[in-house]
Symmetry: C3
Subunit: 339 residues, 3 copies
Amino acid sequence: MADPRFFQRHGPFTLGDLAKIGEAVLQSPESGSKEIRDIGTLTDSGEDQISFLDNRKYVSAFSQTEAGACVVAPRDVEKAPADCRLLVSDAPYRSFALIVQAFYPLPATVPGIHPSAVIADSAKLGDGICVDAGAVIGEGASVGARTHIGANAVLGTGITIGADGRVGANSTLECCDVGERVQIHPGARIGTRGFGFAMDPRGHVELPQLGRVVIGNDVEIGANSTIDRGMGPDTVIGDGTKIDNLVQIGHNVRLGKHCVLAGQTGIAGSAVLEDFVICAAKVGVAGHLTIGAGTRIAAMSGVTKSVPAGSTFAGVPAGEHRNWLRKNALLNRMVKEQE
Amino acid sequence: MADPRFFQRHGPFTLGDLAKIGEAVLQSPESGSKEIRDIGTLTDSGEDQISFLDNRKYVSAFSQTEAGACVVAPRDVEKAPADCRLLVSDAPYRSFALIVQAFYPLPATVPGIHPSAVIADSAKLGDGICVDAGAVIGEGASVGARTHIGANAVLGTGITIGADGRVGANSTLECCDVGERVQIHPGARIGTRGFGFAMDPRGHVELPQLGRVVIGNDVEIGANSTIDRGMGPDTVIGDGTKIDNLVQIGHNVRLGKHCVLAGQTGIAGSAVLEDFVICAAKVGVAGHLTIGAGTRIAAMSGVTKSVPAGSTFAGVPAGEHRNWLRKNALLNRMVKEQE
Amino acid sequence: MADPRFFQRHGPFTLGDLAKIGEAVLQSPESGSKEIRDIGTLTDSGEDQISFLDNRKYVSAFSQTEAGACVVAPRDVEKAPADCRLLVSDAPYRSFALIVQAFYPLPATVPGIHPSAVIADSAKLGDGICVDAGAVIGEGASVGARTHIGANAVLGTGITIGADGRVGANSTLECCDVGERVQIHPGARIGTRGFGFAMDPRGHVELPQLGRVVIGNDVEIGANSTIDRGMGPDTVIGDGTKIDNLVQIGHNVRLGKHCVLAGQTGIAGSAVLEDFVICAAKVGVAGHLTIGAGTRIAAMSGVTKSVPAGSTFAGVPAGEHRNWLRKNALLNRMVKEQE
């Protein structure tokens, strides 16, 4: 049960409603009127809750669940307990996520501007925005409708952010144009100066960084992550890309659509990640590389060369994941033989 | 000498007082009335200062110290200069730390709420708290007695923090319950949204994160570290655990009591660290693992499997530290042979 | 073209002016009166723009450039198109950076203190400073002339920062003395408590951290980076050193002059980096080591022993870069042979 201090439950919903919301199919049309009050896990749910089976490790828990309803893939329908109502989906986790969003939507923005917020006269404010205490919005900045600006966040001169966004407390946006439905978590730094110098024995000479950060729609940027603006070209984050906490994105980087970058990953300047690239935690990608679409990079890998689309890479320097496994096995064997 | 702009010295103390404070034994009871005015190092201390010997690398400095008094282990008593008064302790570094705390305690909280702080009417404020300029405390939040909220920190709706805490400037607390005597350093982000999605070719679907962060007593959380709230269960940080700067703790992680996580470490979702686990700097722990009690993990290691209690692990993927040393030695030998 | 919402172009300048600014030599003195309006790349520049050639990969683009002028090294002068005016420099990238700074200088500080800033009566404020909304300046703190304090930044009691500095929005300075012309980017944490404890089975005992952070002139500190104050000695950052985003500097560390630390690097307590050390991204340096002057450390390396001056190191544990290459080649060969 989600703590009501922090999360407000909506509903109840009928199972018929939830089938539509979750883009799933009711196994028995007559169960469509069954009322569901909450989501839950396979093991703790009761008659008025809905759960799901995705990872087949949990098939036996599924077979014994007392949940009133479950989302399940077609192949697992027959494992269900007799009295459990089923929503059948080819992507049960996705369907369940959509259902959880229905029960626990992001809280609607409550329009209002706190009197302690500091907003430049020339800022353009969309309808229904909320600006929390101490937030600062600079000259000419533009905030889209229903966007929520958290407490003590700072939006610099001229930046734009689209509708239905969420800017976390204590975050900073400079030199950027941000799309719609973007979530920026607390402490993120967007549009900061890229790390560009002419290195020189007389002292390094700063190269002004004259680009922006351009962020698409439906992007998420984690807490305390940093995205530097471009040096001349822009730094670009594609639609639907999800960035975890403490991630560093260097100047001129271009992330495609629907990439996923896990915590503490770093992408060096001018690297290109095509669509649907996944970086597990603490990955490093060197500058000026191209990582092909759909590539998956294992945690703590360091990528030093461009990677063809669809690869699975691991290691430092990163190579094909299967070669990395072989190297590890070989070394382990050799060490054992020496004992 | 600590800079008096930043640190206020208390005292003087008699050596008898310091023996009690440091849980140590006066070697010569008659030295109990000796007055000590400050702490210092073995090489820079004078007659009215106290120093310590812990690391035996410094035995010769100890033998020549001019400090008026020293904390020392029983085995090293005989190395002391003739005129140095001794406090004997089985844990000299610990005893010394307690003594330093007496001379330089955390500054007492000066009660008061800055007029520019923004505090919701429904917030519950303990006696003697201090709220600095620009801090924001949300609806229903609760702050324990004598807790200090730093400038421009943001405490979200409904959070709780116990007595004698310190919340650093520009930090953010959301969806969390925090114990007593907890230090949260500037820029830390507690209770942010965990990184949970149903990944999908149509676009990743966010899974609402409905848990909290629950932090025990006597915990320390470093500057700009991030602790995500749980997905449904809570993220839990055990009593006495110390977390350094720029550390990432994923959703549902459970850290035991008295763990130590050095800078830039990352613990992925749903991992469990039992009591007294030590992660050196930049360690990565993969999701859903259990690290047994008392395990020590070397800097920059990547742990990919559960680890038995009491292990010493190193490498990526991490294994027994002695095997890691062997692998490195073997590789070095082989490279040499090829020259 | 830099976006005028974010960057104001100065100029135009004559090529004679730019030669002086860039410390370069006009190839044809008669071109000194040519007027230049902007900078640009080799491929997108027109008759009134100046570009440069540094990396010889771009020689063919240089040979076809339509830029009105170019900065170029003596060896490449002959590759220039006939009608391109040349500024000849032994360090073309440096010369160009100086020229870009002339066209796009850091915006001058507009003097003024926002009414929502909170400044202690005993703070010492230099002439022409700018303090943005919500910034907090503590008792006895001192801010040098023309220094800009960003919105919601927090400067603690007694800290000092010299003239012509820039303190980013939402950053925090405590227990530190900062030189002139220092740029601190948003969310940086300077002077936070070092990670010092006496570890103990009864619970770790905090050792008060009684030193400062001392930062030289012309230093840059990246967004969300953290620099802990010393334990007793100070943490020291030498003149001209450049620190990227999300970098961690432990207590008592001493960085020399003109070091460069790329993103997500971490330097553990009491390590010493001599002058002109370069750490690429995600480097880790263990505590109490000395890295000799001019050493270069490859990305993602973990340095576990002191390093002689002028080295190029790589790997975990780090060794000579050429040995690291050999180890990788050897392992790759062995794995192939096994197939």
